[in-house]
Symmetry: C2
Subunit: 586 residues, 2 copies
């Protein structure tokens, strides 16, 4: 047969991986390290073997490994969990990522590496390893402790930020420089894309899966799930985002399906098989010779990872109002790098913007910090005891005062309720903005095709543009109206709460009316300006624009109620998905 | 990233496959047909699309599809089932395969195709499709009827014969001609290989899996299972057998593991994903234009498949003593070709011995016969009623007499018990022969290596050969002794039963003693001759041979009891495996 080389490769990988996983379990080390060791042993850089023959196919399967790893991670993630992990997770994750990127960047520059290497190094150090932490905590039987829950929360936030970071890094790598405006634009486009696909995905995907699941065939369900997964990955890649982003997002969307558990069970073997290949491939690319040359960076970076992560996470958790012991335990648990570092390293080398030595360095640092993780977690309590004794009294006093102050400023009662409502409305407005922007961008994107198909009847370019632009405006109408209504409600609320009659006397009613009117109108004007910018490639001449706007206004008046109904229906579809999943599976 | 082409391929395949499976389920057609249709639609032969870009990788994944398909089939198969399906399944399967190979061959020659094409066509028509039959029967809710059980029995025997056939075809394809001696040699070597790997596999693999399963990690278990699966496939491929054989055998071995159900559950998604790719690839290679040119062969072959299979299976089942209705139902159920035909077609085209037009013809015949299957099954009862009326009285009378005669000749009581014992002893002797042969063949195979390592101390080639040959003889000792004991027991039994004192009077005791002595001695002499032939590459000079033989005889006398113990221990290990699996999982 024609694929003997490949069968040999995969047989060697799986056979040795099988043996190594058994050894890893016996010596209680994470399997991931074993896989990497397998890769190093059978890799091209180490004698006596050079066994892998069909490197092309193995690398493609490793790519599938990234997809399945992140898809499974997405399945475990879900939006409600994110809202539940609370402020602590956000503070700690931001602190950790900011510090580690900065540390990595500075270390890279200090060793005289290029700016791009330094940036990628920073990114690689930023994210801790979910796989390894879960492994370590379950082996130490600490998975259900409070600090473990905090760690999982931080990891969820990190996943999100990592996805953003990967998108940003791709952008930076393409343009070659770091530019604040570009970064904002990249992140803006990314958020837009994420919001739109989340909304559409949450409305459609769980329903499609529920429909397929009715046939009660695992095969059909699996093929559909894989179709959606790879299809979305392809879309994301075509939009020049990384495949990791796509796999994670579609996983997170499917996490809201009723059939989540079945899907997770079906995907598990695929993830295990291909992630094994992925980790082995990392070992294959690892050149121990480079390691000797770069022994100093490895040591420095390892120390930076451990110290930086312990400090940033501990302080972050403490700043969010937890006690010292919990904070230290969280910090000690987070002190390693893992799969995301490899994914970022793969990104860098596949975009050909990072130097070759980064790969083995990161692998070595990951191996060492992974091995340290269980010991660090065990060391947390003795360390806390030491710290409690060693902390000078004034510092301890400041810490206590901080905790008391934090308790005071926490919003409570009415204020907390209002804050929640305002946040909710702003979120809805943001989502509507994103949807409207997406409609106009899509219009611009498909402009050529649309014009081709109507070009035979209508020759004037201005009319063509007007049609496309008008069409986009028409499709956006329900979202525009919904936005106006939300903002109106928000302004009423703010006027009621913000303008106390005790302060403004008999002007109160008037002032409130002004505020109630100004906020929605100002926002709509702002939005129209935004649309103007976004729709530049399809904007018709000013006369047409005016005509269309007036037309739209009239249409809005006529279709006001249907539009509201349509919007409400869409909203119900979305909420049903979220609601149902939370009823069934958690 | 570097694998966009591949991601696009797999996304397109999975997306369209997902949609098509839904359509297939709605219109109650087998999913396999849907997959093939997908392949045709996106294939290079049909406009408007030519979407597959990384054909190399897709074909390798299709190869994985064959492996997982046959591995899963092996998992469902097991040795006890084979002994339970009884004579009916063997008779019907042999009748079907013999008739269909002959029919296919004659049809091929009649259309003026090459002998090789004709042979492959015969092989493609021989085996019915397990997948499609199970599908059809469960959709018609007939899965638990008696005739369905018979069909499953026949399918199991077919799987075995198909594996033998694939090995034979590879041999024929390599040598270019059909030669009776070569065929016997190929089948002999194949049986040898199968017996040895079954015995060793059944002793080792379930124990290894049980050990790994103790760690309670699905990931470890899966990686170990995949390692064994691919490793065995690689061994099989290196021995120049087809990969399908390896995957099926290792599956059948693992079917005896206690963890069968867990393994089957973990392999299911891998099988579903890769078999989808395999079937789509079959569609990709399908050229409808060829079909138009070969419309006549397609029609003729389709008719041959339906008529030939219905006739041979019905008559086979009837000949084995079942009633007419059951026989016709079995025959109607078996009238299609499926996955094995594709595997054989793939084999032919990857060995480059068959013409290109065979592929689309077989795909077309498979599609038509698959579509017909449910209707044929439904038609079985009306047909039986028709036949009962239409059969002329004398014929019906002959049929009835046949059934009565069959009931009479069936062995019963003591004779049946003795027949079972004799068969069992012969089976054990056969297994021992195979093991001894394997030891000597392995000695010959590793001769060069062994001589290199001992070459520095011992320079005489004759002495080297003597050491290797003597070593092989020493390792075979337990099996030789066991064989002698079994044959001794057999000859005693035969002497007791076969030589009645009523017949030979006072010579009885003497005659019995002679028979008891002759059979084992004759067999041992025969075996030694066989060893002589097999060990030609390592056989030392006659003097050495005599010395070694005498040494072996003395050793045998000294080590008689330890050898028996060792053999008994190995036998217990093997029987434990078979026993345990039957206790636990069935």
């Amino acid at each position: 047969m024609h694929a003997i080389e490949f069968i040999q490769d995969i047989a060697v990988i799986m056979l040795i991986a099988g043996m190594v996983t058994i050894l890893c379990h016996r010596f209680r080390q994470p399997v991931v390290l074993g896989y990497i060791a397998v890769g190093v042993i059978i890799g091209p850089h180490t004698p006596p073997f050079k066994v892998i023959q069909d490197m092309h196919t193995i690398q493609i399967l490793a790519e599938l490994g990234i997809i399945f790893l992140l898809f499974a991670l997405g399945l475990e993630f879900n939006l409600r969990k994110l809202s539940r992990v609370g402020v602590t997770a956000f503070i700690a994750a931001f602190a950790e990522i900011a510090l580690m990127i900065w540390l990595g960047y500075e270390i890279g520059l200090a060793f005289g590496w290029s700016a791009m290497d330094a940036i990628f190094l920073g990114a690689m150090l930023a994210i801790s390893s979910t796989t390894i932490i879960i492994k370590a905590l379950s082996e130490l039987k600490l998975k259900n402790e409070k600090f473990a829950q905090l760690i999982f929360g931080i990891l969820i936030v990190e996943d999100i930020l990592a996805i953003g970071m990967i998108a940003l890094l791709s952008g930076i790598a393409m343009q070659g420089t770091v530019n604040a405006i570009d970064a904002v634009a990249t992140l803006g486009k990314l958020s837009l894309f994420m919001i739109v696909s989340l909304v559409l995905g949450l409305i459609m995907v769980p329903r499609l899966i529920a429909y397929v699941a009715k046939f009660e065939s695992n095969e059909m369900l699996l093929v559909t799930v894989l179709g959606l997964c790879f299809g979305f990955c392809l879309l994301v890649v075509k939009l020049e985002y990384s495949i990791a982003l796509g796999a994670f997002m579609i996983g997170a969307i499917m996490a809201e399906a009723r059939q989540l558990h079945l899907i997770a069970r079906l995907i598990e073997p695929l993830r295990d098989m291909f992630s094994a290949i992925f980790f082995v491939t990392i070992g294959l690319l690892f050149d121990p010779a480079v390691l000797l040359t770069y022994a100093l960076p490895v040591i420095v970076i390892t120390i930076a990872v451990v110290v930086g992560k312990v400090l940033s996470c501990s302080l972050g958790v403490f700043a969010a109002g937890h006690d010292g012991r919990t904070s230290v335990r969280v910090g000690m648990g987070m002190a390693q790098i893992g799969e995301f570092s490899f994914i970022i390293a793969t990104l860098g080398s596949s975009l050909k913007v990072t130097s070759e030595f980064l790969y083995p360095i990161v692998v070595a640092v990951s191996a060492v910090t992974t091995l340290l993780t269980p010991y660090l977690i065990r060391l947390a309590d003795p360390l806390t005891a030491r710290l409690a004794v060693a902390t000078p009294k004034p510092v301890a006093h400041v810490f206590r005062r901080y905790a008391v102050w934090l308790e005071m400023v926490r919003p409570e009662g009415d204020r907390a309720v209002i804050a929640t409502i305002v946040l909710k409305i702003l979120l809805q407005v943001l989502v509507n903005c994103a949807l409207i922007a997406a409609v106009f961008i899509a219009g611009a994107y498909f402009m050529t095709n649309i014009r081709e198909s109507i070009g035979t009847w209508i020759t004037s370019e201005d009319v063509q543009r007007s049609i496309v632009w008008g069409g986009a405006l028409f499709i956006s109408l329900p979202f525009l109206i919904a936005m106006y209504r939300k903002l109106h409600a928000l302004s009423m609320l703010l006027a009621e709460v913000g303008i106390k009659s005790s302060f403004s006397g008999h002007f109160t009613a008037g002032l409130r009316r002004v505020v109630t009117a100004i906020i929605p109108v100002a926002s709509i004007v702002g939005l129209l300006y935004l649309i103007g910018v976004l729709s530049k490639p399809i904007r018709p001449s000013t006369e047409w624009l005016l005509v269309l706007m007036i037309g739209a206004a009239i249409l809005a008046a006529v279709l006001w109620t249907p539009c509201i109904r349509l919007y409400a229906w869409l909203q119900i579809l979305l909420l049903e998905t979220l609601q149902r999943a939370s009823d069934d599976t958690r």
